[in-house]
């Protein structure tokens, strides 16, 4: 009962957020946190199915560029761009996964890293795709004649995507599929009881990349531009750090917490301790890995136990 009340309270808080935070800059940070949360949830989903991806920014890029090209070169509405962004990222994930998902561990991490590097360099070297300068201005969404000019509508759009992604993760975690995902960690054991490990890994990979693509389809019109520099390997590494710091025990709460806290921490550091951010980011990651391997999300539970 108490738990339900807390959840309802939290949902109301999320819905009222734009009226509580009446500051464009903070709303911008919250929207960014939402986009990263979606990427992190996908990353943890892939991890749950036993793979370590270092290339999630590539799928964000595929989504963002699909949206940018459809809206700018073909004058389609960004809504179509958003739909195509998700689909294209999922298709690329399917094709790549078909080839590489049987590769495990560190090798998978390396191949996704290389894929990220390659994907970033394609638009950078093709003039039609904007080169290193990128593409702009990407038109904004309109809904019932309302253009997305202020941050409120953007916030709700991102919130909807985070909610959808969290719902999918939550459903996966609490059904048979989620347990199968966990089981794929021990490949031979899982296969001996009839679980198609590569199939479930594929499912996790495609779902994660679908959401990364959708996040790209929102990010491109939100920022009004895309450029290759925004989709570097370091962005993929950032996703991994946020998820690890937040906690990878659960599929939704940990990644969302990690993404939000680190985006805000990053901004605070940039404002008050310029030049210290990479150092402290690295230190934080090391501290969490060594002292708090289940992430920040496990912190309240630890306090409760002590009492």
């Amino acid at each position: 009962m108490k738990k339900q009340a807390a959840i309802i309270g939290f949902a109301v808080l999320l819905l009222l957020m734009p009226f509580l935070v009446r500051d464009d800059y903070y709303m911008h940070l919250i929207i960014l946190s939402g986009i990263y949360s979606v990427l992190c949830m996908g990353w943890v989903l892939i991890l749950r199915a036993g793979q370590f991806s270092l290339g999630q920014a590539a799928f964000l890029a595929i989504g963002a560029y699909t949206s940018a090209i459809l809206t700018l070169r073909f004058s389609l509405s960004p809504w179509w761009g958003l739909l195509a962004a998700g689909i294209s990222a999922a298709i690329v994930a399917f094709l790549l996964g078909w080839i590489v998902l049987r590769i495990r561990g560190l090798y998978f991490a390396v191949i996704t890293l290389a894929f990220n590097g390659a994907v970033q360099l394609i638009p950078a070297n093709i003039d039609y795709l904007g080169g290193w300068l990128g593409l702009s201005p990407i038109p904004s969404f309109t809904l019932f004649g309302m253009e997305f000019t202020d941050k409120t509508l953007w916030y709700y759009l991102v919130l909807a995507l985070v909610g959808l992604s969290a719902l999918v993760s939550w459903r996966i975690e609490h059904t048979k599929i989620g347990r199968y995902f966990k089981a794929t960690g021990n490949e031979s054991l899982a296969e001996s009881i009839g679980i198609n490990t590569v199939g479930y890994r594929m499912l996790a990979f495609v779902v994660a990349c679908l959401f990364a693509g959708l996040a790209g389809g929102i990010m491109a019109p939100y920022l009004t531009y895309v450029s290759p520099g925004d989709f570097s390997v370091s962005k993929s590494i950032q996703v991994q750090i946020q998820s690890t710091v937040g906690g990878t025990g659960g599929l939704a709460a940990g990644p969302i917490t990690g993404a939000t806290l680190l985006i805000i921490l990053g901004e605070l550091l940039r404002a008050y301790a310029k030049g210290l951010e990479p150092l402290l980011y690295g230190l934080l990651l090391l501290i969490v890995i060594f002292l708090l391997p289940d992430g920040l999300i496990s912190l309240p539970g630890k306090f409760r136990k002590k009492q």
């Binding site: 370590f52 561990g105 191949i111 093709i126 030049g275 402290l280 690295g282 934080l284 990651l285 890995i289």
Partner: protein
Amino acid sequence: MVSQTLLNGVVTGLMYVLMASGLTLVFGILRIVNFAHGQFYMLGAFVFYVILDMAGLGFPIAFISSVIAIGLLGLATERGLFRPLEGKALIGIIGTTLGLMLFLEGAAELIFGPGDRNVSVVFPGVLKIAGTTLPVARLVMIGTSAAVMFALYWWIQRTKSGTATRAVSQDEYAASLMGIKKTRCSFLVMGIGSALAGAAGGTLGPLFYINPYMGGVPLIKAIIVITLGGMGSIFGATLGGLILGIVEAFAYTYLGGIAEIIGFLIIIILLIIRPQGLFGEPFEFAE
């Protein structure tokens, strides 16, 4: 034109070889791809710069200081960070090297500032042979890297600890039956592997600008090279580095900027058709 491109390719390739051989050596024993290896290289270049330009000591002392300082850093990293992680999940291991990478880059930025620095030219002059130009500094770089690689081969083939290292990388269990301690081997290998990154920083520092972010690209190239050559194989890293350097040089000359993509395509294709790389031992896909 062709010979000039080939020469440029060899110079870049040697840089890849130096970076990749340390990374592959560490992987062969510890089964860790050290993502902070590029930052070790960066710090090697800064040590070189500090000794040469700020302390005013000569090239040999600066170079040896880079090698020793980064070797010690590697030893400390093994003892302090990697050893406690033995047997832990991949997320902790990769996470740790990524955390170290950010930490070192941030530390260098804090100490030296974000700007580019020029290392003073130690060996001026340009040689012209049969229509190709070769700055003397690059010739020195070729000589130094060849000497470092020769020393590495001598160590791994001819010394007792080198033989022990090869044994552990081939079969850890059998090596332990022969009385080889893996922890001791890991410690030594992390020192030597990191010293190689320091050597790369010391040889290449004189050729380029140095800044705290210079480690990123060489790390990616080194990862491509060891995947190409086979993770854990030093011979593979040597050949892979030279191949990548030369192929890239020709691609740049004839295709332009899109050449950057070649390395990535090579390893994506390679991992599909021959996942163990050119000279790697066939491995089990599941760790």
